[in-house]
Amino acid sequence: MAYEKPLPRINGDNRQFWEGCKNHELKFQKCASCGHVRFPPSLVCPRCLCTDIEWVVSAGAGKVYTYAVYHTAYHDGFREEVPYVVAVVELREGPRLLTNIVGCAPGEVYCEMPVTVVWEDITPDITLPKFAPSG
């Protein structure tokens, strides 16, 4: 069955992030000057405006900064999913990602809950990084 949810729009800024996801690697830009690890990817470091970077691969471990439980499907592709959890996960390396918490009931999610990345291959080219309770 065709994938019916929206897909990420790949562009010059985020291509390497999504290619990393396809290889099940959570890749972030690290500023070559001040060492700040940032997300989303962009031309300049928001701390020091340096443009030099290296890509680092995250261990994929973090904690829930905050979350929301959707009881409403704003898009037909999510009609079967409600209630589902959208969360902001703070990775151990520093960046925060908007994502979904899977692998547990919505009522079990809490702020600061330890979570680990799990990969959802949704099309031959696109893989989404989602998170599940650790351990």
Partner: protein
């Protein structure tokens, strides 16, 4: 522009057929960028993330927000123009209503309505020649934290309201104790709480006590959103609070007029807020009588 003499009379306008047209869905998806990939749409989800973080950091939640929803609804019932006029709401009604995006219920959300609103601004010198008592702009402040919800570390405050509020009060030369009423941008109940908190009316976690006992409603000691606000009157972005503040200052609010009619303080000075994105932009304006 007015001070510089570039303009004499400026119109500020908003209009949207949000309820009857098909633009709402486009708006929700465009608003959220690539977050839609994870099923994150529009403002309710973003403010739900903020409200949940606040619930983690200090004492707040539905028991606080019910006072905001119910207090504003009481004002709407004094305003025949309000979309929710004639539809009273009790605490039980609030607490038994459905979640949209948890922890936010339907009455935590602003209205979706058709309509428009506009105001005219001019210099005080010109205002004296016109027909209504002018609603004088005593102070202004703005601050734009800008970061998207997922990249903001301050979803539980402080928001842009802190700096914007300090700037506006300082420019007006007044203190918080001089404020007679507030018209607060209320896209969600939580927005009202965090905004008043960042203006310094109470500390984090003290909101429930501050709001309880009818503080913001008719007869309350600090009336808030006296038209019913965006939760219960109608949504026109910043023009819902700004236009109501002007009408109260002018003394044109009929049954809901601040002062003896509603057993509240005379509205000599009203604090007005506006807010954009998911707590990404904030404006504060102090309006007063001449």
């Amino acid at each position: 522009m007015l001070e510089a003499g570039l303009c004499r009379y400026v119109l500020i306008s908003y209009g949207h057929n949000e309820l009857s047209s098909d633009s709402l869905f486009t708006m929700l998806t465009e608003f959220s960028g690539d977050d839609v990939v994870f099923g994150h749409f529009g403002a309710t989800g973003g403010y739900a993330l903020a409200a949940r973080r606040a619930m983690h950091e200090y004492r707040t939640g539905p028991q606080t927000w019910k006072h905001i929803a119910v207090g504003q609804r009481a004002w709407a019932n004094l305003n025949p123009r309000a979309v929710m006029h004639g539809r009273p709401m009790s605490f039980d009604d609030y607490l038994s209503s459905q979640y949209v995006v948890e922890p936010l219920r339907l009455p935590d959300n602003c209205l979706v309505n058709d309509g428009g609103r506009a105001v005219v601004v001019t210099t005080l010198e010109r205002a004296r020649d016109l027909r209504h008592p002018p609603a004088v702009i005593l102070g202004l402040g703005q601050h734009n934290p800008s970061a998207q919800a997922a990249q903001s570390g301050a979803l539980a405050g402080s928001t842009g309201a802190k700096k914007a509020g300090e700037q506006a009060l300082s420019m007006a030369g007044v203190t918080r104790d001089d404020i007679d009423a507030c018209q607060i941008y209320d896209c969600f109940t939580y927005t009202v709480e965090v905004t008043l908190q960042d203006y310094g009316f109470f500390g984090p976690g003290e909101g429930e006590d501050w709001f309880s006992g009818g503080t913001i409603g008719p007869g309350g000691r600090m009336p808030v959103n006296t038209s019913g606000g965006q939760l219960s009157e109608a949504y026109y972005m910043g023009l819902t609070p700004l236009s109501e503040a002007a009408m109260q200052i002018m003394g044109r609010c009929g049954e809901r007029q601040l002062g003896p009619a509603t057993k509240t303080k005379e509205p000599n000075i009203i604090l007005v807020s506006d807010n954009g994105g998911i707590l990404q932009a904030h404006s504060c304006c102090i309006l007063g009588r001449i």
